[in-house]
Amino acid sequence: MEIKKGIAVSPGISIAKSLIIDSEDYRIPRRPIKPSQRMTETQRARNAFKDAIAELTQLESAQDQTKGGKIKDIFAVHLRFLHDRSLRKKVTDFIHSDMVTAEYAVSTVLREIASHFAKVKDAYISERAADIYDIERRLLRQLLGKKRQNLGHLTREVVVVARELSPTQTAGFDRKFVKGIASDAGGRTSHAAIVARSLGIPAVVALEDLTEYISVGDTVIVDGNRGIVIVNPDQQTIRQYEEYSKEFTDLGHRLDAIRQKPAVTRDGIEITLLGNIEFPNEAEVVLEKGGAGIGLYRTEFLYLNTDREPTEQDHYEAYAKTVRVFADRPVVIRTLDLGADKYTQSRRLAPEPNPFLGLRSIRFCLQNLTMFKKQLRAILRVSVLGKVKIMFPLITNRQELMQAKMILRDVMEDLNDESIPYNRDIPIGIMIETPSAALTAHSLAMDVDFFSIGTNDLTQYTLAVDRGNELVSMLYSTVDPAVLRLIRNVIQDAHKAQIDLSVCGEMASEPEYIMLLMGLGVRTISIASPMIPEIKQIIRSVTMEYCNNVARKVLGMDSERQISAYLRNAARKILPEAF
């Protein structure tokens, strides 16, 4: 029995057999070969390189320079690597010296190179490790054919164990069978974590070397509450965990029981509780948990996996799938918010020195109008299927908003010309997530139908803290008086302009902060689905009067510590069992 400690990123307990997947589903066993087979394996390796080069050359020339320029560049880099004779020599030498199969040699050599890259201090070079893995995959595809372990065809309950999980892999998870996630890498904001939380699956990440301790068929306990993974637990441990798990499920059921009940305070004020989703298959979970619609549909997943840009039809199908689940309940689709994350930065050939403040999100879209238009067309087309609203992220000034609206109008005109139906009155809103937007909310409010406050980014930009950086993450707090002041500003401006307002950042899913938000005037929130029952419970346990008092007191305080402590106490009074 091995006990490994990592970071708990999604609560719950799960006990099941492990399903180990390599990055991109390849598990290469080390099978020794006979000395006489070395020539064959070497030739296989050489052919794999040749075929991969041919495949890539074709893909690269098929990319249009203007539209697919960046992707073309990436292919060009990969081609150079594949042509690199010292790389090929390393692989064939390894086959000879260690007497292993071509695929084992390719995998081992390339991963070693990737880890060398990853260790280089220059962040830009270390991102190239992702390219090496891509090349490894391409070569392995040649060697192994299309036989891949398909996560979509599971027949029994498993805990997925991997070094790291890519967005494509997590998108295919079927909750019926995937009962837990454990990964070597990752953090609170990695894809595995986000997906696990929205599907309600326990998950532990940053286990560092779990994949080295685990073999096919091992039983695994994933304790997403304490951040522990136990490999091959003994009988006693299993029994303990089964009990613990039952307690936890009972609590879950009690909370689920309020799914049908409305989110209304004790003194009759209704709060609209919506869900945040990233993948279409999360929509059902929101419904199950009692959400009244989708307040934030993140659309980045369409871009994060592939070698090619998604087509308008790709967008349309993903959105249609979600909107149909919700029929006449609101679905707010946020346009592309890509830019400052690992996936897009590693695709660049020339690094941005400060990507977080760089060409990302709506700015990126306004500089890539052909791509942006595809998404806008899909959103407009889907708007006839339900109550769809469109939301632009990271708007910092009115001019950006006007540009975005202008492009949307142009797209509407195109659809008119093509006689394609769409909702002409589609509500248009923006995320308020920068200090500039928050401070000029009164003026922005005149040109939109709704605001949604993105407390995560608003807090980061206001306090100048990267919450993913452990050295300073303790400075991050959404109840810092400066942040609260901005939030209050935005709420008041929205009320004055009589437009809808919601809060979609993590702040809304924290039991300690929800009363404060309500007391400040928030009547609509959008949160990750697993938290919906608990937050609804709190809403049903308080009076708006109490919340107003809480807000009033907090606004009079000027230290974050004081505010936090006060809110914790206030919450404990309402829901003692949650604390």
Binding site: T370, K373, R398, Q403, M406, R409
Partner: protein, 157 residues
């Protein structure tokens, strides 16, 4: 797309005579018409379309610039004309500020991508305060042409 690919430099008006929005639109479309780029007898029709569209939704982006535009069969490629007004014009921009620089675009009816590429360029440069400032300061059509050509080469402008 670079400015030089679609801006018709001969049609530049460095001091717009009209003092109202519709008048400015008439002036700029007529200017393009004079260069022969609009096909025979389309001028009136195009003016009407641009004004109609402008009435539906202002293209005043704020910060003193406006980009009235329309799609029309009369042109095969995107063409644009620049107009400057030192007095300022009321374009009913919601920041309620007057407009000093107008870029009027006419795009081919069935080539939406060309229109978008031109808009991308326009947006990119109009975002830069320096560019807006320099544009306003131009006194001759040559100044405008030089500025746009320089902006084509220098993304920070």
């Amino acid at each position: 797309m670079k400015f030089r690919d679609f801006v018709c430099f001969e049609a530049t008006i460095t001091e717009l005579q009209a003092s109202d929005r519709d008048g400015v639109i008439v002036e700029l479309v007529s200017s393009l018409d004079k260069t022969g780029r609009l096909g025979k007898g389309k001028c009136e029709e195009i003016i009407r379309e641009v004004i109609k569209r402008e009435k539906e939704a202002s293209t005043g982006l704020g910060r003193g610039v406006a980009v009235p535009h329309v799609k029309h069969k009369a042109v095969k490629d995107v063409i644009a004309a620049i107009g400057l007004s030192s007095a300022g014009i009321n374009f009913f921009a919601l920041d309620k500020q007057p407009v000093f620089s107008v870029i009027l675009l006419i795009s081919p009816a069935d080539e939406p991508d060309k229109h978008l590429q031109a808009m991308e360029s326009v947006f990119k440069h109009l975002q830069q305060e320096r560019f807006r400032k320099f544009l306003r300061q131009c006194r001759t059509t040559k100044h405008v042409e030089d500025l746009l050509i320089e902006a084509d080469e220098d993304p920070s402008l």
